[in-house]
């Protein structure tokens, strides 16, 4: 493959991914797959708008007044679905500024909007991969995004799906263990998006373990001084962010496998050897 063709396929892939970032499914329409694009649009935006409906559009009212600003959503998982998030902030903003009771399914709704952002990020991975794959005759397989999604739902699951079981177990034990320790140190106060909006955004990247524990914990009130709450919050946030590193490993392995070569050989070889191969 020539360098110019590489550049053009890369440019098209980037454009398709950016299109998807703004409008879920638009990248696939751009690649000539309108049906898939439409289905993806309905699922991703359906999740987001169901979440908006359950929260009454009040998600960003979770933020303290001094954190409310035009870029307040930039560090939330919803940023993965940028078009919907911008619409959300422009339509509902931060509310009237007076205390009101939350809707009954406020937390479930906020999980759905966050999940929509994460799902759209995985869709961006997929469209980027497919755009490059279409320009490579030797490529096969497009399960990279599913493996990334699995790893986002349960740390290490993406590795297990790639038959790298020991690595998957190690990732799960390290990350979920750190999250559990952080939750203990924080006295469970981290399991509430209203209380710690941005730390929650970090730990959200750990997926199902966070959701399960949050559902079980039930957003209990903090009634005592928690000595190591800061350390705990740092740990749970770090655990989620480190899962992104694990997801990058999953994606890199899937891409190498999709290129029809031995992933271990390709990734372990020096640059010069890669070019020769």
């Amino acid at each position: 493959m020539s360098a110019s063709r590489n550049d053009s396929s890369r440019g098209g892939a980037d454009f398709a991914a950016i299109l998807t970032w703004f409008v879920p499914g638009a990248g696939h329409v751009y690649l000539g797959r309108p049906l898939f694009g439409l289905i993806a649009f309905l699922i991703v935006e359906g999740l987001y708008f169901l979440g908006v409906r359950l929260t009454g559009g009040r998600l960003f009212e979770f933020l303290e007044p001094d954190l409310q600003g035009p870029l307040a959503g930039a560090l939330s998982p919803e940023v993965g679905n940028l078009g919907a998030m911008v619409w959300h902030m422009r339509t509902y903003a931060f509310g009237p500024g007076v205390p009101r009771p939350w809707p009954p399914h406020m937390h479930l709704g906020s999980w759905l909007t966050a999940a929509s952002g994460l799902l759209n990020a995985c869709l961006m991975v997929r469209v980027h991969f497919e755009a490059r794959r279409s320009a490579r005759a030797d490529a096969r397989g497009s399960e990279a995004w599913l493996q990334v999604l699995a790893g986002a739902l349960v740390p290490g699951l993406g590795h297990v799906l790639q038959k790298r079981v020991a690595r998957g177990i190690a990732v799960f034990v390290l990350l979920v263990g750190l999250f559990a320790l952080g939750t203990i140190l924080a006295g469970g106060s981290n399991l509430d998006r209203e209380r710690h909006f941005y730390y929650w955004a970090g730990q959200f990247l750990l997926g199902a373990p966070v959701m399960l524990l949050e559902a079980l914990h039930g957003h209990a009130r903090v009634t005592r001084d928690i000595a190591y709450v800061d350390a705990g919050l740092g740990m749970v946030c770090l655990a989620g962010l480190l899962n992104v590193l694990a997801l990058l490993d999953v994606h890199g392995h899937a891409e190498d496998a999709g290129a029809g070569s031995n992933p271990l050989a390709v990734r372990a070889a020096p640059d010069g050897a890669k070019g020769a191969a």
């Binding site: 390290l174 990350l175 350390a231 480190l242 694990a246 990058l248 990734r267």
Partner: protein
Amino acid sequence: MKDLPIHLVLFAVVGLVISGLSAVFAEPEDGRALKGFPRRYLWFLGGCAVFAAVLLAAEKLLARTY
């Protein structure tokens, strides 16, 4: 400093996870990742210790206010 041993233990735990994930990311082969982990962990702890020492020295020499 209050509870220094506890803070050091917590830091060691966090460093363990950071080093473990960086080994997973940097080494595609499990055996090499496992073999290189102790060295990676010690480098992380040592680097952080040097960084902390520099910060403490800077505080003592330049920014002490009490």
